[in-house]
Amino acid sequence: MMMSFFDQFASPTYLGIPLIAIAIALPWVLYPTPSSRWVNNRLTTIQGWFINRFTNQLMLPLNMGGHKWALLLASLMIFLITINMLGLLPYTFTPTTQLSFNMGFAVPLWLATVIIGMRNQPTVALGHLLPEGTPILLIPVLIIIETISLFIRPLALGVRLTANLTAGHLLIQLIATAVFVLLPMMPTVAILTATVLFLLTLLEIAVAMIQAYVFVLLLSLYLQENV
């Protein structure tokens, strides 16, 4: 069987259980419920501090109506960041490399923001389709363009996350293969490539966190416009 570089994105099934099921259920185990103690264990304290700070930052630009989304957005962020980071471990499976998974998050949440806007303040929501100060002749064109840009948002959200994660994993696999192949032939070049691999891994760790954050931030932005 040919070794394809895309094999790492297929979820294997063993004993009838696909690995993606374990990969999705795992983040829940890593975050223990805080107890009613005044001082918790270190893990719970760190997690609580991070979640509190993040939710505070995220809710700053939103009005009171948007604060209802705090739980959803915070848990989404924690989920995505954990899944992305766990995917960097060897042999693990990253569910966020699957487009269907990311679209499953992007489309319903984006649609919710649009429907909320249309129901509560339809004039304001439709007014977003026409930026202030546009020349009169450009108005029809701009409305069409803004509508297209509105409908492209869920696609962009899903594909952004998928493409970033998939590209990162592919690059890591490619460069690691290059290092292995070069090692017996040209050790110096192999060491240089290994340095590139190390830097790439650092980048991937950053990308894993940033992409999750961008996803949630954009959603909160769309919410801000509509709520």
């Binding site: 069987m1 690995l19 374990i22 185990v29 890593l30 893990l43 471990l89």
Partner: protein, 89 residues
């Protein structure tokens, strides 16, 4: 020295004799609720031993993640065993 007469069901796995293993398995609860309870019990034991301590370090989480890596390898083995560096040898 003779053991005190304790019921088989209350003994832990590491304390029973090898010959008693089948009958000990017969006393365990394999219903879905029972399995769930044993999973939760295992989680609580691990959590309280390695994470819910005053000065827990990275070891608790690291052991768990190492186990996850091992589990993922097990899941992918059937696929990975076909990997070759050259197409024809």
């Amino acid at each position: 020295m003779a053991d005190k007469p304790v019921a088989l069901a209350q003994k832990r796995l590491m304390d029973i004799k090898l010959g008693q293993l089948p009958s000990w398995l017969g006393t365990r609860d394999f219903t879905p609720n029972g399995l769930l309870g044993s999973v939760r019990g295992g989680y609580e034991r691990y959590f309280n031993k390695y994470i819910n301590v005053k000065k827990g370090g990275i070891g608790g989480v690291a052991m768990f993640l190492a186990g996850y890596v091992a589990l993922s390898y097990l899941w992918e083995y059937d696929h990975i065993k076909h990997d070759r560096w050259r197409k024809y040898h």
